[in-house]
Symmetry: C2
Subunit: 217 residues, 2 copies
DNA sequence: AATATTTTTTAGGGTAGACTAAAAATAATT
DNA sequence: AATTATTTTTAGTCTACCCTAAAAAATATT
């Protein structure tokens, strides 16, 4: 297994390759490589039985491929916790370094790091850390966009794109923070959140798809 | 700069490429690659002006190459401190993981890690950590083999080969420990060390070249 | 000094991972 | 249904890094 193959498998996973067929086009966009390179890598991963391939349709992870994806995400997220908690990174800074570190981390290193960090369940943006065996703890959370006016909730998880995290940092939205959904503007308009202290925050319609909350009672 | 090039430069440095010409043969042994591959890499590093090359004699680091070597060693040793102090690695275990981590560590990551570790001066086997600018703090230490009977000293640094460190672990020799040189057997025989408490430890002649001490008063 | 050995270099090749350009297949539009 | 546009695949290249086998240069030995 090489870093490039690992990144490719992770990209398939992140595009939904656990349950549905992922197109070459999506992989081209996600990895910023040419279409020919995607076909190339597909044939290599196919040979190792990490993916299944439907010609001109796309690829899906096999059980074997899924296991590798989950173990990579475990490594990635444990490093993110380390960078944020111990080295003082902001949550929008952790991604790039974790992406490099995950490929050179032995299982032993990760388990020792995990113990050092006191076995965290979530990474800095609320992503669940998969278990050693590749299983993923079940966490119930709701996309903010599905909430109704009056719902009270805590921020559970947010999308981990650097610019989005920066935006939330600016909006002072952070994990665990409690809000009530005060208002939803019609025609895909913005959502107004209100803290228990009465402070109001306005969130765009599209952003509400990228925020996941835990509704209280 | 790629991991392989970095390893090659580090190997040249470790074979003395700062002050003398290093032969291809030595690099073949150190890196376990073919002689042809060494010539190959030499020409590539030559093109980047990281080494100078005397045909059929060997290579030496340029200022540029030396800077890279020292920065790599800085990264390597800071990771070693982390693995030993925070993750509980024994001193003979740190080398392999540090060797991988050093190639994927941004300068920012290393500086933040350095601060987290409270800016250590030495790695777990006593190696000095080069400064950010590539300069190396001067530390005075004497090879144990050059000591005279009666000398009192502290263990300052030891060679960082895994099996040697394991041997020292077994002999209970560790950094900072104080001994008096009690006896040297003639004809390249073993050396006897004695702790202030009167415990004696016998060290082979060859091992005495790989242990560096700080003589007291 | 001539021969034998060792070391380095050259020549030619292999694999992983990327590319461009063109061909083939699928999907969208008129 | 025919044409156009998009997506995927194939074909051919390129670079980094490694290899083996053979040639060339340097070193050792007789």
């Amino acid at each position: 297994m090489t870093p490039n193959k690992e990144d490719f498998i992770k990209a398939i996973f992140e595009l939904g390759g656990k349950e549905k067929v992922v197109t070459n086009k999506d992989l081209v966009r996600m990895l910023s490589i040419s279409a020919a390179s995607v076909t190339d890598m597909n044939t290599r991963l196919l040979k190792e039985e990490l993916i299944t391939h439907l010609p001109y349709q796309g690829v899906m992870l096999t059980e074997k491929g899924l296991l590798i994806a989950n173990q990579l995400i475990r490594k990635h997220r444990i490093w993110e916790v380390f960078l944020a908690e111990k080295l003082g990174y902001d949550w929008n800074e952790v991604h790039a370094d974790a992406d490099l570190l995950e490929h050179v981390s032995s299982d032993l290193l990760i388990e020792r790091l995990n113990i050092f960090l006191e076995e965290p369940t979530f990474d800095p943006h609320g992503g669940v850390i998969p278990n050693q065996d590749g299983t993923v703890p079940e966490i119930h959370s709701t996309p903010l966009i599905e909430c109704r006016v009056g719902d009270r909730f805590k921020i559970q998880e947010v999308d981990d794109q650097e610019d989005f995290l920066e935006y939330l940092l600016y909006k002072k939205v952070h994990l665990g923070k409690e809000y009530t959904l005060a208002e939803i503007e019609p025609y895909d308009g913005p959502l107004t959140l209100e803290t228990p202290a009465g402070e109001k925050t306005v969130i765009g319609h599209k952003a509400a798809f990228k925020i996941f909350v835990d509704i209280i009672e």
